[in-house]
Symmetry: C2
Subunit: 451 residues, 2 copies
């Protein structure tokens, strides 16, 4: 406890500086979906990292946003890699922000700005932790590397190739991922995996122009065509009917199931927030948690055909489109699922339905719960937060974890300074200043225990 006090005092001493630097990062818009401010952000970040003693540089990516790489310390003592991203979600709808998204403001013990929770706050926290460590304990006996990308919010389209090309540069012993936080009960949440994704668009075509609906007896209707094609993909019991779809799905281990049981139930809070009486299939408890983290999905993101305005128009549409995303779990592969999806439509007589992939897919990936690095991070988290840590074997979402786990061979644990109302991706995104302090304490403590 003595050491904790020392660290907290040092954090408090420099807090004004950390917040000033965080505000500087937040002040620079960096919206990957809009290609806005990415080069400027990368440049600013390199300068900021250098201020904290990190040997940083920007690495150009052909057709993409630059990667920011940095290193500090002695590689002979082991290497810890921090993965972060400097891009943010679009700030729209602007009218719902209480203060402008790129003009950070502190009020009521919270700092508000687009990207503060996801994930510029965690970047500054990790830099501040290095500062505290050096203030108190001198130079690092091991090395810390940073990789900060600028395209996470658009599916990290260049990460697989980049990691492949810079395998040596990125060599490490373990990786701390970008985000995380505490749950409603204040327990630190550690996440060890991400789902993968395949995103496709389907289009059916009929006549070359919309026709009068009197012709529905004999003119093909692409909306019906798509309805029938979709109905072959998934049944009402939510089973995905593509041959071989589940072949590579790994069931959760006994260890995974033990971890699931320990995740606090927050069902009612989620249902209330979504205005739902029941979850799909009336899922509850362990079954719900198991499905959310270990099952793949086939989801309709959107569909459109014909006349959708007010009132009635008697039209027979000339085309119909649907967007689908499949969230994949280990060891499913997006290119394999795409192949099986194509074969499915051929088999069911829907070879006329045109399919295109909207984004490059991503692979699912996870680090086993029993890995010593997971245990280390867990022990540090429980010491710092003084509560039992929640171990999430996977999240339902997607991130570029796969090349870090499989190309670089690293154990990956995701942690951060978020909390349930931090509003990542939404207006009035924020972090609590107390969580930022504790986040710095967490990383300093991790550094002290890393080797």
């Amino acid at each position: 406890m003595k050491e904790r006090e020392r660290i907290l005092v040092d954090i408090a001493k420099n807090e004004a500086r950390y917040l000033r630097d965080l505000k500087a990062l937040l002040h620079q818009p960096s919206v990957s979906a809009q290609r806005l401010g990415l080069e400027e952000m990368a440049g600013l970040l390199v300068r900021m990292m250098r201020k904290y003693g990190v040997k940083a540089r920007s690495i150009p990516v052909k057709g993409g946003a630059p990667m920011v790489y940095g290193e500090i310390g002695n590689p002979n003592g082991g290497i810890l890699l921090f993965y972060n991203h400097y891009d943010v979600q679009p700030p729209e709808p602007l009218e719902l922000w209480k203060t402008p998204p790129f003009e950070p403001e502190i009020r009521g013990g919270k700092i508000y700005a687009r990207g503060v929770a996801d994930n510029k706050g965690n970047i500054l926290i990790r830099l501040a932790a290095l500062q505290v460590y050096q203030d108190l304990y001198g130079s690092l006996p091991f090395q810390v590397k940073f990789l900060v990308e600028g395209e996470e919010e658009i599916g990290s389209p260049h990460m697989i190739e980049f990691v492949e090309s810079y395998k040596d540069l990125l060599r490490a012993d373990a990786c701390i991922w970008e985000s995380g936080g505490v749950n409603f009960a204040g327990q630190p949440v550690l996440t060890m995996g991400c789902k993968g994704i395949l995103y496709v668009e389907l289009m059916a075509r009929g006549a070359r122009r919309d026709a009068h609906s009197a012709g529905a007896t004999h003119i093909p209707n692409p909306a019906w065509r798509l309805v029938h094609a979709l109905a072959t993909l998934k049944n009402e019991q939510e089973q995905i009917l593509i041959d071989g779809f589940y072949d590579d799905v790994l069931p959760p281990s006994a260890e995974d199931m033990r971890a699931l049981k320990k995740i606090p139930p927050e069902e009612n809070k989620i249902k209330k927030s979504l205005g739902l009486k029941e979850f799909l299939l009336n899922l509850k408890g362990l079954k719900l948690k198991k499905r959310a983290l270990f099952e793949p999905t086939c989801n309709i993101c959107g569909m459109i055909s014909g006349y959708t305005g007010p009132g009635g128009k008697t039209v027979l549409p000339s085309s119909a489109r649907v967007k689908l995303d499949f969230r994949l779990v280990p060891n499913q592969k997006p290119e394999d699922i795409l192949k099986k999806l194509k074969a499915h439509f051929q088999k069911h007589g829907f070879g006329d339905v045109v399919m295109s992939t909207v984004e490059q897919g991503e692979y699912p990936a996870r680090t086993p719960l029993g890995h010593p690095f997971v245990r280390l991070v867990q022990e540090v988290a429980e010491e710092v937060y003084q509560k039992e840590a929640v171990l999430e074997p996977m999240t339902g979402g997607t991130g570029p974890m796969h090349p870090f786990i499989h190309t670089l061979g690293l154990p990956v644990v995701s942690v951060g300074a978020g909390y349930p109302d931090c509003r990542a991706h939404a207006p009035n995104e924020n972090l609590r200043l107390s969580d930022i302090r504790k986040g710095i304490l967490f990383i300093v403590t991790l550094l002290r225990n890393f080797r």
Copy 2:
């Protein structure tokens, strides 16, 4: 042939006046869907009818466009009722018109304007025919009545109630319907029936706001819900699966089938126009004609859910909507089909899908081909056009024929001065001047033979 010459000479003598009066009708916009110019049009039409010796008046309709009623001649000699409508389709898209839609212009032997084919041209033709008749043969030995409505293009929502209320006023022996024309081969086409319609909108609801698609494992997706609900309505063989849907469908009679056989095949022209290689179910020949005229439909007019813009957004929609129209054949009833549709969704466990009717439905109705009035119109048509008439027992479209046939007890035959390229409902709508002349000759000859 002598008489034909006499009539044509009289038509020619007054043609300039008829065209001037037709232009006056066309110059007045009267778009029911936009509630534009309907009162003005009704007033203009009353004045025009009076000029032609018809005792005309406008009858207000609560919440609707006025009905224009007129009569001329001696009711003791029998009564012929003309049904027409003075409203027109919206003229949009305006940029595709060569000359403005409400500035009628004659070029290349055709008169162009919105509503000239559908159906102001036929109104003027019928008035002109009365003029010719009186010029050549004196006053009418029987009575002609006109009923001209202003809401045909929006589904005639007030017609059933109006006919019920004005049963005595509308008493007649037979009815000539609003529209028709010659086919590609120049044969006059007579139509003796209309399909009915039921138009509904279905909506499925999920969470109260769009959710992140990572939640697709446990958050209900209304787009999937609607896909599954729709898939129970119709199979890939185009069979409508609602219990009892076909119960009241009358199969075509032997006489109907003979008439169908005589309808010239125009399949290739239609396929070319629509850019289709094959019709639905590879329909051809008699089977195609039978299905087009005697089978009901269940058609998706439009559907929408979630994100439909460019690229990929990983969203789980909060609602999904679809618009359906059912074209009904004798003796199906829209309110009965609605009841069966509701029962269908209950039975299949889709009671949560919200259903609303978009427009008041319409009933199908037809006059038997063997009716003496049909034979009379056919003989007159063949004499005037000097080609075999095509008898269409029904059309695939919908109109308010039901109260005329069933409440007033009239035989109804639809004829007019159109041709395959008259572009009703489309930009550059037009009639050929030669078809207008022949149309007047047709009605004069019909009047001479009516009693």
